[in-house]
């Protein structure tokens, strides 16, 4: 089942001589339980791709489908509902709300979606449990380490019944152990059926994905081919 599909998506910012073609004819499809990494140099259009996939921006041309439904056919309210109910975002700078506790941050999307506060907090605590953060539920974001903050952001992105996880440089400022922990959490969400897209310029992070797509000047120029056997490329060097 395809959760996210981009069909010939282009995005142009600005007008006239100031025009920037951020994306050109990008097509991409991500199935349930699949993790796709998008790699590319700075300015190649990675963040643009993610914000369009997350319905935060509209493409100049082309279509975005979420769970088979074209986003262009949805009204503002439907889009907002999809964002609150189906999509989870993880950003490089975490974007946690400083005045809310960890538990409140994580259950916020559910409450915004109309879930009663009590059940929302229950769901939030369950998500925190899965990420080993139950003990931090009452803390405020500025009392956490960078690695913990990013884990909270992931808990918030997968809380409830989210279908699509979108992460932009999710371990930007983290060291390699925390980066690996972040990718393990995202993989675990995908094993439960979540479709994931991770944008990164870091090959070690990208290598956690089932498929790596390479972006250059707004175009998908290449992608990895899944290995046929578990060790097909690996030759031990004695």
């Amino acid at each position: 089942m395809t959760v996210l599909e981009l069909r010939g998506v282009s995005k142009v910012y600005g007008e006239g001589s100031a025009q920037v073609h951020a994306l050109r004819e990008v097509s991409l499809s991500v199935g349930e339980g699949q993790l796709v990494a998008v790699m590319g140099p700075s300015g190649s259009g990675k963040s643009t791709l993610l914000t369009i996939a997350g319905t935060l921006e509209e493409p100049t041309s082309g279509d975005v489908l979420i769970a088979g439904e074209p986003v262009s056919g949805m009204g503002r309210d439907d889009r907002a509902r999809i964002r609150r109910r189906c999509l989870g975002y993880v950003f490089q700078d975490f974007n946690l709300l400083a005045g809310l506790t960890v538990a409140e941050n994580v259950s916020l999307p559910l409450e915004l979606d109309g879930m009663p506060a009590r059940s929302a907090v229950q769901c939030g605590l369950r998500a925190l449990d899965e990420l080993g953060l139950r003990g931090r539920a009452g803390s405020f974001p500025d009392e956490l380490s960078g690695g913990e903050r990013q884990r909270v952001a992931i808990a918030r992105a997968v809380v409830g019944d989210r279908r699509l996880l979108l992460a932009d440089e999710p371990s930007g400022a983290l060291d390699s152990a925390n980066g690996e922990a972040v990718m393990r959490l995202i993989r675990a969400a995908c094993r439960r059926g979540v479709a994931g897209v991770v944008v990164t310029h870091d090959a070690q992070l990208a290598s956690w994905a089932d498929r790596v797509v390479f972006l250059r000047d707004g175009r998908i120029v290449d992608q990895t081919v899944p290995a046929s056997g578990p060790e097909s490329l690996l030759t031990p060097n004695p």
């Binding site: 090959a203 070690q204 956690w208 390479f214 690996l234 031990p236 004695p238």
Partner: protein, 193 residues
Amino acid sequence: MTIRHALLALLSEGPRYGLQLRQEFEARTGEVWPLNVGQVYTTLQRLERDGLVESDGGDDDGPQKGFKITDEGRAELAAWLRTPPDLSSPPRDELVIKVLVAVELPGVDVHEVVQTHRRYLVQLMQEWTRLKEYAADRDLGFGLAVDAELFRLDAVVRWLDAADGRIKRASLEDRDLPRAPLPKTPRKVVLRP
């Protein structure tokens, strides 16, 4: 890693039989580097000749012959652990040469050449990461060996990324500017025959 020092390391934990040494070596390195029996026995003979290990007598070189480390062996192991490996002059790097050639060849899209290598490397990294995902928590030695492989490949990908950017910038700049003479040493390091 030299087999010689790997065997000394295992023997520093206590006496072992030859066959046991081979099995333990493979287990500790997550079977990333398989050894054959012949390599184990010739290495043990040399270690014994150099006085770094002792065997429990017995003239037959069978699998039941036991070995233990000597004081000289322990000193050798301690010194080896702290001796930096030779990282000063890299061997001629095939990938670097290919990219240097592609830059100069007319009709070749060097970015496409770079991307072909980048894709191959990332695929390789995906396979190592898959192994790490399933095994690294259960086996420390394996986790360490896989990380080493991943960091090495990652460095190559990063070099390709940097090369890609450098080539792009160079093609945008005026190529007819007079070139300053190159300092000699770095060139030698890259292109040492």
